[in-house]
């Protein structure tokens, strides 16, 4: 295993120490339980947004804490959802009195841990709503399984909802917006190489020199199928068409119902993409794929979107939701409306994403 680390068990702790030293004007770091939070938290009267998940996806989520995005992020061990006490503490720390939105990626672990945390927070009198992100079209069936994973759309929802909270949206409105972002975003990823979990010390899976894995998640979990290596154009076409042509997808998710004071099942349906849609195109590096390759993918994606009548109105290109040093990419398309475009353009000032003032 070749990594710039010390002991595997210290990776997350030392990473957080580095972040605390590097960005003191943007974030603070709390240890045991571990979470990164806005330097000026709590922001009075503003809805706070908290997310979290396993480490190894940097800059997500810790790198997205700051003005105009997340109020706090809870990093678990590498690829392991964080624990309820992290989320609870983070939630308490950043609540500015207007309530807290939990943005949760759809993995059993994340859901169970975040639900426990939300229940504890409710018990302490804090308003918490949760929105699930489940956008990974590589996972087909939702009826009898966990359903789609949360991938690329997570980053986009954090940016857009963060801007909305900054603008003064109330908790319900931020949650509704997050739900809207989720059902309008779809993602699919692929890997050229595996990644190596520091604690494990060996690649999670073995890929031949001429093989790749399609429909990969962000945890080094295997994809839906393995195939012979293809060209960037062919790979982009496979991912883009899977995303664009994905039919209406419907699933039941659990959300907290404030009026009833209980978790309720909510049925959500993704509207399929259609000609004339305005989209944000997000070409993401899995971590080990360098910057020279991403515009090659974007170029083909642009061509395909044009052919399909989708108009790319914004884009994001780079390593934003990664899988350690895995080489590969994912493509996310998010259907945009004017509200979302405005919020996307709003200033953001975090270690990982920064524009405006």
């Amino acid at each position: 295993m070749k990594k710039l680390i010390n002991k595997p068990e210290d990776v997350v702790k030392e990473e957080l120490e580095g972040i605390a030293l590097a960005y003191p004007d943007l974030v603070k770091v709390h240890f045991e339980p571990n979470f990164v939070y806005r330097a000026d938290a709590p922001v009075k009267g503003k809805v706070a947004i908290v997310s979290g998940g396993g480490s190894g996806h940097e800059p997500m989520h810790g790198g997205f804490v700051g003005v105009g995005m997340l109020d706090a992020a809870c990093p678990g061990a590498v690829f392991t959802s964080p624990t309820p006490d992290q989320m609870l503490e983070a939630t308490k720390t950043v609540d500015g009195g207007a309530g807290v939105l939990h943005i949760v990626k759809n993995y059993s672990g994340d859901i169970m841990n975040f639900e426990m945390a939300a229940d504890m927070a409710h018990g302490e009198g804090i308003r918490v709503l949760s929105i699930l992100i489940d956008d990974d079209v590589a996972v087909k069936d939702s009826l009898y399984t966990q359903g789609r994973r949360g991938t690329g759309t997570t980053v986009l929802s954090e940016k857009i909802c963060g801007a909305a909270a900054e603008k003064g949206y109330d908790l319900k409105r931020v949650a509704a917006l997050c739900r809207k972002v989720n059902i309008n975003g779809r993602c699919m990823g692929m890997a050229l190489t595996s990644c190596t979990v520091p604690h494990v010390g060996r690649p999670t899976f073995e890929l031949g020199e001429d093989e790749m894995e399609i429909g990969i998640g962000i945890h080094g979990e295997p994809g839906r199928l393995r195939m012979k290596l293809k060209s960037a154009d062919e790979i982009t076409e496979m991912l883009a068409l899977s995303v664009i042509e994905d039919p209406a997808y419907s699933r039941t998710v659990r959300e907290w119902d404030e009026a009833k004071g209980e978790w309720v099942d909510v049925v959500l349906q993704d509207p399929p993409f259609k000609e004339g849609d305005q989209v944000l195109a997000f070409v993401n590096s899995m971590g080990g794929t360098p910057a020279i390759e991403l515009p090659i993918v974007y170029r083909k994606l642009h061509e395909i979107c044009e052919k399909k009548g989708l108009k790319i109105v914004r884009n994001l290109i780079g390593p934003y939701i990664t899988s350690l040093e895995m080489q590969g990419c994912s493509i996310t398309l998010l259907k945009m409306d004017d509200e979302m475009i405005g919020l996307w353009d709003a200033p953001v000032k975090t270690p990982g994403l920064r524009w405006g003032t």
Binding site: P33, G54, G76, A77, V78, F79, T80, S81, P82, T83, P84, D85, Y107, S108, G109, M112, N113, M116, A138, V139, K140, D141, Y144, T145, Q146, R149, V197, H199, V200, T204, F205, G217, H219, G220, E221, P222, G223, R224
Partner: protein, 218 residues
Amino acid sequence: MSKIMTKRDVIEWLKATAAVLEENRRYLTDLDSPIGDADHGINMDRGFKKVMSQLPAVEDKDVGTILRTAGMALVSSVGGAGGPLYGTFFMDAGKAVAGKTELSDEDLVLLIESGLKGVVRIGKTNLGDKTMVDALHPAVEALRRAVADGVDTAEALRLMTEAASKGMVDTIPMLAKKGRASYVGERSIGHQDPGATSSYMILKTLMETLASGHRATG
């Protein structure tokens, strides 16, 4: 009803489990590679190390408190799916035997059954989803039946462990419907579920602890 398990046995069980999971850290992680994210052994080992660090503070307390403390330690240190599931298993098991310092056969059935119910409640798991429940459920059934039939404790625990083992192996041909393994669809077939495997280990360790415990105390 004779007491078959003391407070000390419970503590021994947790300690022995911690040792077994440390030993099998790599094995459980390897099982989690083809159909998961290669962390189950790491997670369980980290969790039970935390349990070990919390035990001294409650060694004098009742079985319920000991188990609930273990569960809370797991919830706050494991993360992933394993944290809430095994955390709930032990917290709910502890609640079921709250206040007791010695357990009868029936208490033991109640303890494990309550743990299983907690897992199912939190995980919304069905039998055959290719999870730890596929090991835990037949084990609870076997134990309950044996105790109801008046089988002696050692044999009842053997039957429980055997059922857990069979349930664990039976996950191999299953198509995963819960947890990360469900994402790989058909490719989950042919692999043994890591959670079912750790559950089998925990129950087997229970059997062994009580066997050696009984030997020790005559």
